[in-house]
Amino acid sequence: MPGAEDTMDTSRARIGMWLFILSEILLFGGLFLLYCVYRYRFPAEFRSASTVLSVADGAFNTAILITSSFAVALAVHFLRLNRPKPVVDLLTGTIALGALFLIVKGSEWADKFAQGLYPSSPVLLARSKGEVLYFGLYFVMTGLHALHVFIGICLLSVLAVLTIKGRISARHPAVLENGGLYWHLVDIIWIFLFPLFYLIA
């Protein structure tokens, strides 16, 4: 719990992590800027292109990431209570859910490729300009997000190992807490990507 038992080091590390999160928000922000502009310019084409995506897949992935966020938040909770065993189990759960997310996303992409929909493909270029841009942004934004999920999985794996070894504990919680913050960021980005690409009415 931040506050009373907060050591200077934990506080310092948390500030650093939040500042890093701010930079990540601005990184994706550039892509959101492009999305805003092109959706503004091609509203009908964005709508029609989005029908290719499966809302069920998107909603399922959203639920997975939300649950994985829940798991890692619980992991931090148990670490503060000095109970490392549930911590490792929950981290493993988070990692598994993250991997499942990537599998679903990968299958979505594979499905698009199978339909001939990828940047610069003849099938895609035959569509209207707004649809070309929709898919371009779709691959770039979900791709960058998936890369962050992958990095998060690697990070959480390291954290799980460190917890097993006792290097992360109730007295040294900073690294796990900050790793959790990173994972929540990944979740939040998807919380926005989902409606922007899947739920264009």
């Binding site: 650093g16 930079s23 550039g30 502009v37 209207s128």
Partner: protein
């Protein structure tokens, strides 16, 4: 907190550069997380890259000293101005003051032993060096060195056959280094101040570094994603900047300048902070309007992030946008002007000592004023149409960046050299170098302002005969200026090896760095100080009439 400082046999503290610690030789430098050693690593690298880029500039001036081909082909010229820009902007000017002086002095100025994240600090340097290596490798890789200008505008950057991805990826890596440095500076300033060091007792150089760090964190990611998009566009043809696919090339310019305009404030704010620290010491008088200067740093950082469209007045953006950005550009001049007025008021009726740090800081104010005023000419829509993409712009930004940040850096080096290295340089020679540098600089860049006004376009390899006298005059000014640079750095390097030993406080400064030995021991302070007054209170101040 008392530390057990390493001591030599006569009882004096061991300087940070001799304190071998657990690692011998070069490893003790490239594996050290001591903020002072990291600062020196940056210093050596940045100065090397600076002189590399200056050499490219000299070659350009030789080529342009007379019309027609002189010593190179047009393609080479295009690569030269591109690399000159990339190296100076991303490898030198953006990192210089934060990574050299910020790293060395921020912890000392606020009364602590190191930055908030020492290992992250070292990692920032590794990223920086990786970016530098990638830039240099990209010169020799198949296809040839990049020729797009440091602005990498589409569509040319998407179509040119030289190796663009490697060069822009290098800049991406340098951006990551910058972001991490910014995170370190903000966290350090918030968390590690000594007891009694409230925000309004901080030296103004810290305010400069702090404001800059916020821009580093918030703006740099935008160019990061933009550079990635160039690579993605080249490899996959996504279409976000390609009109044939519905994309808008102007969006590239928006994204690029959303970072690159605030980037110039990353360059200038730390330099302004240095001037704010130097003037009180050499006027023996408290700074005028401390809070105004401190808040103006924050104001410049924030309002400066709103003006990027002034680079795009003739690009085809809407008139509405041009008017809005022009208005905001005029607004951002106000906090800068506040600083200039407050600096002058600081000197007014002060007890001035003319020493090299003071001279370079004074030159900063003059050259920055010229640069700033020429900026207003470009900020006004009607006059910008005349001068956009001419030598006027090139003159303007060299006044601001070189005259401003450059001279600010030189002021900082001359001010803090005795503290960093424990030696004093030849002050007369430093003054002579300053004269040569100032004369050459103005000969060179004021001619650019004239050339631009007369219509000479920038980035052109060749020019009509009517510009040849001005071009030659500018080139001569450039060579004189370089002579001044060599004299100045020669003096400092000589002093590094052979200078007289310097005392702890040669200038009579009141900030914390002057209370520790020159050079500092590794742990900075034997005992963390408790601060009870502002940074510019001088004992004899009462004798100075206001």
């Amino acid at each position: 907190m008392v530390s057990s400082a390493a001591r030599s046999s006569d009882g004096s503290t061991v300087p940070y550069y001799s304190d071998a610690g657990p690692r011998p030789g070069i490893l003790g430098w490239i594996l050290s997380t001591d903020h002072k050693r990291i600062a020196i690593l940056y210093l050596v690298c940045i100065l090397s890259f600076f002189f590399t880029a200056v050499t490219l500039g000299v070659l350009m001036r030789i080529e342009l000293a007379s019309p027609g081909p002189t010593i190179m082909r047009p393609q080479t010229y295009n690569s030269l101005f591109t690399l000159h820009g990339i190296i100076q902007i991303f490898l030198v000017v953006i990192p210089a003051i934060p990574t050299i002086l910020g790293n060395f002095f921020l912890p000392i100025l606020i009364g602590t032993r190191d930055m908030a994240f020492p290992r992250l600090n070292l990692f920032s340097w590794y990223l920086y060096m990786t970016g530098a290596v990638l830039v240099f490798v990209s010169v020799f890789i198949s296809g040839g060195p990049i020729d797009t200008g440091w602005t990498f505008y589409v569509p040319y950057s998407l179509r040119t056959t030289v190796d663009v991805p490697l060069a822009v990826f290098a800049v991406f890596v340098l951006g990551m280094s910058s972001i991490l440095t910014g995170i370190n500076i903000v966290t350090t300033t918030h968390q590690l101040r000594a007891p009694g060091m409230s925000f309004f007792r901080l030296p103004l150089s810290v305010w400069g570094l702090y404001s800059t760090a916020w821009v580093q964190i918030l703006a740099t990611p935008v160019i990061a994603i933009t550079l990635i998009l160039i690579i993605v566009e080249r490899w996959f043809g996504v279409g976000v900047f390609d009109p044939a696919k519905g994309g808008d090339p102007l969006l590239y310019q928006h994204l690029f300048w959303i970072y690159s305009h605030p980037a110039v404030y990353i360059m200038i704010l730390p330099a302004m902070g240095v001037v704010s620290d130097v003037f009180p010491v050499f006027a023996r008088k408290n700074v005028y309007g401390y809070k105004a200067i401190a808040f103006s740093s924050l104001a410049i950082a924030s309002v400066g992030s709103l003006v990027w469209g002034h680079h795009m007045f003739v690009s085809g953006q809407s008139d509405t946008a041009s008017i809005v950005f022009s208005l905001l550009t005029f607004l951002v001049a106000v906090p800068s002007a506040i600083k200039v007025f407050n600096w002058i008021a600081t000197l007014y009726k002060g007890s001035i000592r003319v020493e090299p740090p003071f001279l370079y800081a004074l030159a900063f104010v003059v050259l920055f004023a010229v640069g700033g005023l020429t900026g207003l000419i470009q900020g006004a829509l009607a006059t910008d149409v005349q001068v956009h993409d001419t030598y006027f712009v090139v003159g303007h930004f060299h006044y601001i960046i070189f005259g401003g940040m450059g001279f600010g850096l030189f002021a900082a080096l001359h001010y803090w050299f005795p503290k960093m290295f424990g030696r004093m340089y030849d002050r007369r020679l430093a003054t002579i170098a300053w004269v040569i540098l100032f004369v050459g600089f103005n000969m060179f860049y004021s001619t650019f302002l004239v050339l631009g006004w007369e219509g000479m376009p920038r980035r052109y390899y060749d020019f009509p005969l009517r510009y040849q006298h001005l071009q030659l005059f500018a080139s001569i000014g450039a060579w004189i200026m370089v002579g001044g640079l060599l004299t100045m750095f020669g003096n400092l390097i000589h002093a590094f090896f052979r200078g007289e030993k310097a005392p702890a406080n040669p200038w009579g400064g009141a900030t914390l760095e002057w209370q520790i030995p020159s050079p500092p021991p590794t742990e900075n302070f034997e005992q963390i100080p408790t601060v009870s007054q502002g940074p510019y209170v001088f004992d004899d101040e009462k004798k100075v009439r206001r």
